[in-house]
Amino acid sequence: MSNKFVEQGLRSPVNLTWEVTLACNLRCRHCLSSSAEPAANELNTAEALALVEQLHQEGVFQINFGGGEPFMRPDFLQILDACHARGIMTCISTNGTLITPELVEQLSRTRLVAIQVSLDGAEKSTCEAIRGKGTFEDAIKALELLTLSPIPTSINTVLTKENADEIQAMQQLAEQLGVTLRISRFRPSGRGADNWEELRPSPSQLLAFSAWLAENNNVRTGDSFFSLTSQERQGLGLNLCGAAKLTCCVSPTGMVYPCAFLQSDRFEAGDLRQNSFKEIWDNSEIFESFRGLRIHSCEDCQRFDQCHGGCPAVAYHLKDDIQGGDPECLERCVTSIADDRKKSNAA
């Protein structure tokens, strides 16, 4: 069932992703934004602080900071402080390499921050094959430091072909460390597009993961896997794409997009150097089109009420058709496996 209040349009997003910089000290193979060096003309400190004030005025509840590595940005703590001074809750996605005891102590002074440390395997070799040498130990060190603080901390794992068989072990690792596990969907954007075929989970892996999720309600996924999750689990959250309805994305240079996985000219909703956030949220044609998006090709599917066509970003990246339905939804995984069996039986 859809949500009539969301469809009527909210006055601002509930939360948004703000990629504060493209600078990153790692070169992860699945990176959604191909982070490496800072983008030319990233928002400066004054522009970033002005945006925080705008988001506060519009009633945005939470900002999810990503990048790049947010802590690579010299003024990042200043931006965080500005959020917290206004009561805006924050969540930081970090690779953990720059987490120090001093930084943890500083972040602990507010009760408004949560941290997700990226870790892409329960085995060092699995994680390092995706994220690079030394990343496993750095992430574990960061997690151990954070667990000594009151900061709500989670491991964030992007499900790939290489780590799909380690998800249960990831959960055990999270439990040993005293943190929660959050699993995100791998999508073919940024460097992730270049490495899509190597890293994409197979339909059988996705199906197994879907069954595992149904048994593990304490594992968070955000809305990443709403096209894969069971009806029971969907009681934990919304069952539709929230892009331009509940959330959106701000790029390092102040461009606004429906979501972090659709940061291209085609999906540009506005430029914060030209228009206010409110003007963009209220008037963007791209946002209007997302709010009216109906995946008619999926309407006859028995699971339509559970996913409403799934993730438009995956549909766009794989089929160049935002209205085509999620190519990796649960139904399509089942069909794909059945087709493969038929082919193999015929052979």
């Binding site: 209040f5 909210l10 509930v14 009633g59 509840f61 939470q62 809750m89 959250g237 919304l238 509940l246």
Partner: protein, 82 residues
């Protein structure tokens, strides 16, 4: 000892929307859409107050609806007693 009051849970936020109030719980995260119209302002939940302390000018029926609503918010963890 002061009587227990209610207040928005620190992990939660609330804002006004056209339909009434939108509650956000960062622990889920989860949302609660409340069709309260203009009966309650978001800042009602910002300070500790008695459950009987409702805005003036409401009918008995409206007060009853709001008190039930506040009970529901408490049960769902959006408010807490302190």
């Amino acid at each position: 000892m002061a009587a227990a009051g209610i207040k928005l849970h620190p992990a939660c936020r609330v804002r006004r929307e056209r339909f009434g109030l939108l509650f956000y719980d960062s622990r889920g995260p989860r949302l609660l859409f409340a069709e309260t119209g203009s009966l309650l302002a978001p800042d009602y939940f910002e300070s500790v107050r008695s459950r009987q302390d409702l805005p003036e000018g409401l009918s008995a029926q409206q007060k009853k609806v709001l008190q039930n609503f506040i009970t529901k918010l408490l049960e769902r963890g959006f408010l807490r007693e302190q």
